[in-house]
Each structure stands twice: as C-alpha cells, then as structure tokens.
C-alpha cells in the first residue's frame, strides 16, 4: 500500500555548500557531552554524579516528571563535569571517554516474542527511546504512552540536507529491526514517508509499514507536513515520529542491546572547507574537527540545518538528534541603504528585490536579520510556506495573548516550531515565530499536565 502527496506550498532554499559524497573519516575526541537543552519539555534529573564511571547506554539524566524518559551516555568513561548555568540549571553532562567503548548490555530483544510493554521498556532502558518524538508538544516520547500512529520521516528536503541513502548505507539490518520494533509499539499504523526524487530505500519498505511518497517543495521533509497530509492529529491524540536517520540507533538497541548513537554527519555550508560525511557519535567534542574542516573566521556553526538547527560553540559538542552540520558566515555588518537598493543579488522569497530574476541561483547566505522586529503588518505571508489547514497568523496571535482555548481550536496540536521555520525566514516583521510556537506549546503542556 502506498500513498503519494504533492506539497505545493513551501520553498526550496538553495544554498551553496552541499555535502560532497566524500568520507571525512571517523571523528573521536577525549570528551563527550549530552545537554538537556537538546530535549524540549524535559526537566532533567541527574542519574550520575561527577566522578562516576558509566558505560555507553547508562542513564546520565532522566525527566523528573516522566522517569521512564532516560537520556544515556554515548560512550563509556568517567563523568568529568556537570556544567551548570544560572539557578544551577544543568547545561551539559560531560563524560571523559575510555579509549575503548564498553557497552552496558541490555540484551537482545526478540520483538516477535515480546509484548508491547517489554518492547517499550527495552527501548526506554537502552536510551534508544529518546530518539522517538511525541506530538503534540514535540518532546521525547514516554514509552508508557501509546501512540495512535507512528510516522517515520525519510524525506531529506531541508537546506543542504544529507543524502539519506548514503547515511544509512550498511545499516539496513538495524533499520529493518527498528521498524519491526516500532510496529509493536502501536495498535495503529507505522507510516514511512519517502521523497519521490530519490530512489526509495528497500530497507524502509518492510512488511507492516504503510509507505507514502512526497513530492514538491520543502517542507515536504518535515514530519508535521507529512502527518497533516496523511492523518492529522486531533485534540487528545498522541502520535510518535522518528527520523529515518535515527532508526539504526533503535535497531542496534533491539538487535544486540547496545546504545550507539553513531551517525554519518553531513558537513555542509559555504564555510565548510572540507564538505562531506564524517562518522561520529552524538555528543562528541568537535573542537579539533571544526578547526580542521571549517573556516572558523566569523562563522556560525549550526548543528542541523539553517532553518531549525541550533547554534553551537565551535569548540563545543555535537548536539543530540542531528545528522548535519552547517557552517555559514555571520552577518554582523551593516549595509548602507540596503533597503532601497534594487538588490539583484539579494535572497528574498518574494519579488520585492530583483534577485527573483535568478530563480536557480544558489545563495551564500549569512545570519543577518536584514531589518528590525516589528508588529504583524503584512498578511497572508506565512500561509505560503505552511502546507496545512491552519491559519498561522491567527494561531500565533492566540499564542501571544495566551488564549489556550483559541490555540486548541486553531490547531496548535498539529504544529511544532519547525513547521514555522520557513515562514520565519520570510517574515517581513522579523518576528521569532519558532520561539512563539515553542512558548505556546509549553504553556499548553503545563496547562494539560
């Protein structure tokens, strides 16, 4: 069974610096770190103290409200430090790695013989469960909740996104095992969305999954878009989503009980001096890697893509749940009368600047805001980038005034901040749309808990 959908609203952001299919080798470092800030909606409670010995797959911290949501160490070694910020907020747990990774052995899981709760407990204990996101709210899923359906997103359409086939090559067995396990976790369906412009991956089309094909523009590669097309979320429902690139982590936990969040990370962006794919564990310290492969002069290094990624310290650690690094120039310079000039070389999603004359040009964009924040003035702008049956501006206004009932009515359960990323790029008033949506979801969740 297969369904196909065409996404007409949206925009394909064309940037220079796509990852070449070169192997940049394996990255390792002496320290690894996991940050609770990578997990929205989690109140971290430490499971270890500085100085403790951990194995890969031992819990570093868990969610205070949902202790079954465990975040594990990617390597074995000694907990070197718990970095804290204002009000003792935990910023990161740093592990000093052993030279050889020793895995906590959770044992293999025979999905065919296990019941749902055993599969759920196994994924929670191995740490692989943290790679499953729960919607609404977009938080790490609690394995205790039962999702209506599970959506696996195998469409890489974001700016400079890595080639999924290349990233999953050699991990077919793990992918199949992961899909099998996911099937045991829901009484609904497991949907796998793939793009129409790349060859479908056999390992993703296993038995028991429903295949969907997406064509058209980005955000076809956002799972929120896919859910809206396939089976929208209603109030009171919970669905889970998994990125296909994370499936091997889940698969390995099923097959041999090990937690090994290893990725072929796409190194992209105009400031990347060596673009390609580097094999690394999540949380690895990137100081040496970045200085060798990225021109760090006035550069912003982003874990993820330019739309939804998180800014990282050039000497920092690889963020959780990302399979891409993007390096672009900082835009911290002024521009003389930039708003009046014709702007033949400027990037804009509309025709206000003359850059539209060159629709296929690839841009080397920097991080400049190109203006100051203003109130909502222009209307109908966001609709062009959000292929869902919602009214984005009305929803944002409902969030801004804190009207929970209105937010629900206008469909906040169907969206996550990432769904507003393209609209945020295009926004004439330079409003922080993703932050507004995140705040709204947090308020709503607080109200519901």
């Amino acid at each position: 069974m297969s369904q196909s959908f065409k996404i007409r609203k949206g925009y394909d952001l064309k940037l220079v610096g796509a990852a070449a299919q070169t192997d940049l080798g394996a990255v390792s470092a002496s320290t690894y770190a996991v940050s609770p800030l990578d997990f929205p909606g989690i109140t971290p409670k430490l499971a270890v103290k500085a100085g403790a010995q951990v194995k890969a797959g031992d819990t570093l911290f868990f969610d205070k409200d949902r202790p079954e949501v465990k975040i594990c160490s990617p390597v074995s070694g000694e907990v070197a430090e718990v970095k804290r910020g204002a009000k003792r907020k935990i910023l990161a747990v740093v592990v000093l790695a052993d030279s050889e990774v020793a895995y906590a052995d959770h044992g293999a899981l025979d999905v065919a013989k296990a019941d749902r709760s055993e599969v759920a407990a196994h994924l929670a204990n191995t740490g692989a469960g943290a790679f499953i996101t729960s919607r609404p709210y977009g938080v790490a899923a609690s394995m205790n909740e039962e999702p209506r359906d599970i959506f696996v997103n195998a469409v890489h359409s974001g700016p400079l996104a890595g080639d999924l086939a290349y990233q999953l090559a050699g991990k077919e067995a793990e992918v199949a095992a992961a899909l099998n396990a996911l099937g045991a976790l829901t009484t609904g369906k497991v949907y796998v969305s793939q793009a129409d412009d790349v060859a479908p991956l056999d390992c993703l089309s296993g038995e028991g999954v429903v295949n969907a094909t997406f064509s058209g523009k980005h955000p076809k590669g956002l799972v929120g878009t896919q859910i809206a097309q396939i089976a929208p979320i209603n109030k009171g429902e919970v669905v889970w989503t998994v990125n296909a690139v994370d499936l091997p982590v889940i698969g390995r936990a099923v097959l041999n009980g090990q937690y090994a969040p290893e990725y072929k990370v796409a190194v992209t962006g105009s400031k990347a001096t060596n673009s390609g794919y580097a094999t690394m564990l999540q949380g690895v310290n990137l100081a040496a890697f970045n200085s060798a492969n990225i021109n760090l002069d006035n550069t912003r290094v982003i874990a993820g893509d330019v739309l939804t990624g998180t800014q990282m310290d050039a000497e920092g650690f690889m963020a959780f749940g990302k399979s891409q690094i993007t390096a672009i120039p900082e835009g911290n310079q002024t521009e003389f009368f930039g708003w009046v000039l014709p702007g033949f070389g400027k990037f804009s999603t509309n025709r206000a600047f003359w850059g539209w004359l060159f629709p296929n040009r690839k841009y080397d964009l920097d991080t400049n805001m190109h203006g100051e924040e203003r109130a909502f003035v222009v209307t109908g702008e966001y609709d062009k980038f959000i292929p869902m049956d919602i009214f984005p501006q009305q929803l944002l206004r409902a969030i801004l005034i804190g009207d929970i009932e209105k937010m629900e009515k206008l469909g906040i359960y169907e969206v996550l901040p990432e769904d507003f990323a393209l609209a945020e790029v295009a926004c004439t008033s330079k409003l922080p749309l993703q932050q507004i949506v995140r705040d709204g979801l947090n308020d709503l969740r607080k109200e519901m808990m």
């Binding site: 739309l307 835009g331 025709r351 805001m369 203006g371 109908g380 008033s429």
Partner: protein
C-alpha cells in the same frame, strides 16, 4: 559611508537613555536604521532571513504612488492655468503643482512623524515605517486648496486616534490616511467639497464657462431629476465623448479631484507594480473592482436618474474609486487578513462605495466611507472565515 556612520556614532551619547536629548532617540534610531540596515544577526529560530523588511515593503508602496503623485502635481498646474485662461508649459504646470503639493507633503510628514516619535519615545519602541506611506497618501487625497493647518490637524487626529491609541502600526482598526480624510471631511466640510476647493484660481481672472466642480459634485445634482430630464442635459453632456468628464479624460485623469486620485491609468500602473512585487493584494484589488462593477451594473440596469444610468466602467473611473482600490483598501493591517476574507472584504468595499456615492449625494466620496466601514467589518469577516476552519477541525475530531 564611514563619515555618515561617524555622525550617528558621535550624536548617539546625546540621545541615549541618560543623554540630554533622549526624546530624540527614536528619531536618531529611525534615521540610523534608514541609512544602515543594522548588523543584527538571528538569535533564535532560523539562522538565515529574507532580505525584505517593513522599510522595503513601505518604500515599494511609495514607488507605486510616484506616477500618480507626479501626475497630480502636473494636473494642479494644468487646471490652475486653464481656469485663469493662461497658457502654460509642462514645466510651468509641474512647478506650480510642486509649489502647492510639497508644502502639503511636508506638513503631513512633520505632523504625523512628530506624533509617532513622541509615542515611540513614551512607549520605548522604534519608530514604525507605516507612516512613510500614510504621510504620502494623505496629501494625495486632499483638495489642492485645503489650508495647511487643516491637513496638520487631520493628520494628528488620524495618527493619534486612528493608530496610536490602538498600539501603533499593525494594531490599528482603521486606515490612518482615510481616517485623516474622514476627519477633514466632517470637520471642515466647506473645504472638502463643493466647487471652490479643487482648482487653485488665485492670481488671475476666471475664464468664462469655468466650473470648479468635480464629476461627483456635478453628478450629484442629477439625483431626483429623473432619467432624460432636460434639466440635466448640460451636466450629462460633460460625460459625453466630447465633455470634460469623458471616459477618456477620466481614465487619463484630466479632471478636477483630489490631488492624486484622478488618473485611473497611472493608479492602475501603480497597482500592477504592487501586485507584481507581491506587496499589494491582488485579491482585494480584483474583488474591489468587481464589487464596484456589479453595483454600478445593477444601478445601470435599474436607473431612475442619470447618475445611476452612467456607464458602469465610466462610474468606476471617477472619484476616488481607483485610488481607494489600489492604495487604501489594500492596507494589510486594516483589511481582512485571511485570503478568503480578502475577496469578501474587497467586493463589499467596492460594492458599498458605489452604493453610497449614488444613493447619498451628500457623500460624493462614498469610497472613503465604504472602505472605513469595511475596515471595521474586516475582523468580523475574518472571524467567520476562521470559524469555518475551526468547524472543520471539530468535525474531524468528532469523526476520529
């Protein structure tokens, strides 16, 4: 560039929080961000941003107004010299027009921006770009001979009551430029209608056969006279192919009226530019035109007087219809905000505009009132459009 930056850097301490001229900070900030797009970088969410900002949007609208503005300037001079029976060159017309129009523009900007800057300082936010457009729209919808203090008073009223009390640009219910015109219209009616204010006749003797009225004013005299009444013959002759208000003259704009509203051709040109640039809503413009056409068509079919019987297309080329369609109804803040709502809003504004104009000769400028009325109704239209979406969602939930 460095030299300009230095000026801003040197004067900044004076206007900063503890500086002696803190009240001027919003002005300083506005000028500086005008000269230099700031070096701010993205700190939350997406890391790259579109080059567009509100300044660009507003300056695009100003560019779109330039043809109508230049034409209006020339037309002031042409009508003036025509009325006093003097020959004039293109340059004479422009110069005389500039002499009349520039003071209006300067007074409007000074009055409006003064209020804006004061509120920015009080509320501690940057000056919004919205008034850049309003400040040019207001002079273009005024009669040429209106005293400057009336323009200033109307502008201050519009910015204060029409916009700032609601929270400034983006929060206003009514179109500020039309609010200014409505204020002037009701506060100083003798300066805003009749046959004395549309053409400047100073400095010469009026020629024979001169009439200072507008097409709207003349048409209003035919109401109550019945179709084909001989009493209306002289008036209606002016709307014939050879008359002052012929379809061609009205389309080109060679008729008296508010300064910028007369040339349908150049206004349409500006409208196409706005649509092409993606700044003006084609949905509103199109439905506004259709709405006006439908109403004018109905009147034409069931005419009981000459005003109603006027050719529908001719009807739309007169008065403020085209200007309202392109520059007033499309104001994104006061218009309907949903795409479906824009069709309804535009249609009704055009429809009511013609209705008011024809049914109530006391308000020849029905377009202004119709747009203001629809400004007030726009949130209601949006409410029903959004409600339909909510119903759809509830239905889905019920079936789940």
């Amino acid at each position: 560039m460095k030299f300009v930056q230095n000026i801003f850097d040197q004067t900044r301490p004076l206007v900063e929080k503890d500086g002696k001229r803190n009240i001027l900070y919003p002005l300083h900030n506005a000028l500086e961000t005008m000269a230099f797009v700031p070096d701010h970088t993205a700190h939350s969410g997406a890391h790259v941003r579109d080059a567009i900002d509100l300044k660009r949007t507003m300056v695009t609208v100003i560019f779109a107004m330039v043809p109508a503005l230049l034409f209006g300037m020339w037309n002031i001079g042409r009508l003036h010299y025509g009325a006093i029976g003097l020959d004039s060159t293109l340059l004479d017309n422009f110069l005389f027009g500039a002499l009349k129009l520039l003071p209006l523009i300067i007074v409007t900007y000074a009055a409006g921006l003064g209020v804006e800057i004061f509120f920015s300082w009080k509320r501690n936010h940057p000056v919004n770009e919205g008034f850049l457009v309003s400040g040019l729209l207001i002079p273009l919808i005024m009669p040429v001979d209106i005293p400057l203090w009336m323009v200033a008073a109307s502008t201050i009223f519009a910015v204060l009551i029409g916009k700032e009390v609601f929270g400034g640009t983006g929060m206003n219910l009514l179109n500020p430029a039309l609010t200014a015109r409505a204020f002037a219209f009701f506060a100083y009616p003798t300066w805003m209608s009749g046959d004395q204010v549309w053409i400047n006749t100073s400095g010469g003797d009026i020629v024979d056969g001169y009439s200072g009225a507008t097409a709207m004013g003349d048409l209003a005299t035919t109401v109550g006279q019945g179709l084909g009444n001989p009493a209306t013959e002289t008036v209606m002759a002016q709307f014939g192919p050879e008359g002052t208000y012929s379809l061609m003259n009205a389309f080109l704009g060679l008729i008296p009226g508010s300064i910028g509203e007369t040339s349908a051709l150049l206004i349409l040109l500006g409208g196409l530019f706005l649509i092409f640039k993606g700044v003006g809503s084609w949905r509103i413009m199109l439905s506004f035109f259709v709405g006006g056409l439908v109403m004018a068509g109905i009147f034409n079919a069931f005419a009981v007087n000459e005003f109603m019987g006027l050719n529908p297309i001719h009807q739309l080329m007169l008065g403020g219809f085209m200007f309202g369609m392109v520059f007033m109804a499309t104001d994104p803040v006061s218009a309907a905000q949903t795409e479906t709502g824009k069709y309804i809003y535009g249609f009704l504004a055009g429809f009511f505009g013609i209705m008011i104009r024809v049914f109530n000769p006391a308000y020849p400028e029905g377009i202004m009132l119709a747009i203001l009325f629809m400004n007030v109704m726009a949130p209601l239209i949006d409410h029903y459009v959004v409600e339909a979406n909510i119903k759809r969602r509830e239905k889905r939930l019920a079936n789940a």
